[in-house]
């Protein structure tokens, strides 16, 4: 089976219309007509992840995020960049093929990035969640204990919390990746991947700082972009095995980059 044929099967089995005009959901490197030996699903096409996929005998990488360090995977300013040249040559030499599934994946029901994110931090009941964020009510706890649970269950190192650790919280609003939802009147804690810290559409960090200063029980937990969405790529690999039973499919996580 060729990479192109694999992608056609993904589009056919996704259960939602595939937007052929998406600039995100396209081949990013390699020859789509090469034969697929094995498939790696991941959150980000880091070079480190590519090397591990290659070592495992997998030559098609399906990633939720980009390869060339910008959302559009636009390489026009990178053609003379030494790192781009090295990584690109390595990809070509090793016959790797890269395809991105971003917009299509967020349109799917459920949205695996949301399902995986909730599961990875120990919040139950999100098995059918979609891209539209909704409140998850957990037994009342403190923001500090919730953060400790996130650390314990997910193993994420470099996440960041804002708000009073003693604040009593139970209503969680989660949006992984860069889709961190804005704080609402109903939510106690917003959990996201990353968000511009200030001067954006709605600055959660400042809002929660001020709420905490007023003694209102509000919090933000920023998990990190890749780690917040990555568990969903394991679900994606499982899902692919239901319609591609005869090619090895493995979840090959991108590394959490921070010390």
């Amino acid at each position: 089976m060729t990479a192109r044929e694999v992608i056609e099967l993904i589009k056919k089995n996704g259960g939602v219309p595939f937007n052929e005009r998406s600039y995100r959901d396209t081949f990013k490197a390699g020859n789509p007509d090469d034969t697929v030996k094995g498939i790696a699903t991941t959150m980000m096409v880091t070079w480190d992840m590519l090397k591990r996929a290659h070592a495992a005998g997998l030559n098609l990488v399906i990633s939720h995020e980009d390869t060339w360090w910008n959302d559009r995977d636009d390489v026009k300013d990178l053609t003379d960049n030494p790192l781009y040249k090295l990584k690109n040559e390595w990809i070509a030499k090793n016959g790797m093929i890269i395809w991105r599934d971003h917009d299509h994946m967020h349109a799917m029901k459920p949205d695996f990035t949301v399902v995986g994110s909730l599961r990875s931090i120990g919040i139950k009941g999100g098995e059918n969640d979609t891209m539209a964020p909704r409140i998850h009510t957990i037994p009342e706890t403190t923001l500090g204990e919730l953060a400790a649970q996130v650390k314990r269950v997910s193993g994420i190192r470099a996440f960041r919390c804002v708000g009073d650790p003693k604040a009593r919280v139970s209503k969680i609003l989660l949006g992984p990746g860069y889709a961190t939802p804005r704080m609402t009147a109903e939510a106690d804690v917003v959990i996201g991947g990353e968000q511009q810290e200030a001067d954006g559409g709605f600055d959660n960090v400042e809002y929660v700082r001020d709420a905490a200063s007023l003694g209102m029980p509000k919090g933000v937990i920023m998990l990190g972009h890749v780690v917040s969405e990555q568990p969903g790529m394991e679900d994606y690999a499982k899902w692919m095995r239901t319609f591609i039973p005869d090619i090895p499919i493995q979840f090959v996580p991108a590394e959490e980059p921070f010390w």
Binding site: L86, R209, L214
Partner: protein
């Protein structure tokens, strides 16, 4: 339309205050201070720009000026305690680019802006009103200043002022140390908690550093990263600059990227702003109030 009406009210307000003041001496209102700052900094102060009055009455007579990277409620409480009443803030006061007044695109998901009956927004406004504070955003014109105090301020906070390579760039040649040791020094000097995140080679020897307060774009990263040992930035997008640094690490390059938090990276530059203000407005004291690192993470 809205702005021109406000402008008119401003002029009217200033006139009435002037009548109450001593003959010949113009009272030092917030509007007067701002006009002086605008004249000193120069440039075109477009009504539609980010800089401008965000809260309070510009006709208020100024007792003291406070500068900050972000006028959080905690900062405003310290302003009131310090008996200052005019705040110059680098970042927004009301949770986004629109500064509470209108929806703005970008940033997080969901509608931008903040509704007028939001309890946090209301309480902050009430605090400002009750304490007679005036808040003015000073970002574009402060960072456009030729001296670039956002960079020199950060260098001073890190103890690197004497190590600047040339005056028109943000490069510093510091005493060689490992990236790990340099990051530890930055954490201590800027009093950071979980806001600091580093990526790259901990063991790299750091001599040349690029300081970049605020947000750094991928284009800047791609151009500059390989020319230095360490970049110190406020914030970057993880899927762009962070993973560029991660890939360079995989390639075996010995360098590192550390982000300290956007607002924290802008704190020292606004401290420099307070020092500068003392030379422009001598009638009242000018003090700096740091917004600090908002982030923590559990230790256990």
């Amino acid at each position: 339309m809205e702005l021109s009406r406000r402008r008119f009210a401003l002029v009217a307000g200033s006139a009435s205050v002037t009548q109450l003041g001593l003959a010949g001496a113009e009272p030092l209102t917030a509007e007067v201070v701002v006009r002086r700052v605008q004249a000193e900094l120069g440039g075109d102060w477009a009504a539609a720009g980010a800089d401008g009055f965000k809260a309070g009455d510009p006709a208020t007579v100024v007792k003291g000026i406070a500068t900050t990277s972000m006028a959080t409620l905690d900062v405003l409480k310290q302003v009131a305690k310090a008996n200052a009443n005019l705040v110059l803030t680098y970042e927004p006061t009301f949770y986004g680019r629109g500064d509470g007044r209108a929806a703005a695109p970008g940033g997080g998901r969901g509608p931008g802006g903040v509704s007028a009956d939001d309890p946090v927004f209301k309480a902050k406004n009430e605090f400002i009103e009750k304490n007679g504070l005036v808040v003015f955003r000073l970002r574009d014109h402060w960072q456009a200043r030729k001296d670039n105090d956002m960079v020199t301020g950060l260098a001073a906070a890190l103890g690197w002022s004497a190590h600047r390579v040339k005056t028109d760039d943000a490069l510093y040649d510091i005493s060689p140390a490992t990236a790990q040791a340099t990051v530890d020094l930055i954490r201590t000097k800027l009093n950071l908690r979980a806001g600091l995140r580093a990526v790259g080679d901990r063991k790299a020897t750091v001599r040349r550093v690029l300081l970049h307060p605020g947000a750094m774009t991928p284009a800047t990263m791609w151009q500059r990263y390989s020319t230095v040992d360490l970049i110190v930035a406020g914030e970057v997008r993880e899927w762009e600059n962070t993973f560029y640094a991660a890939d360079i690490f995989t390639a075996g390059d010995k360098r590192a990227l550390v982000t300290v938090g956007r607002v924290v990276s802008e704190d020292p530059g606004m401290r420099a702003c307070a020092d500068w203000l003392k030379t422009v407005v001598k009638e009242v004291p000018a003090t700096w109030i740091g917004a600090g690192d908002p982030y923590w993470r559990p230790t256990a």
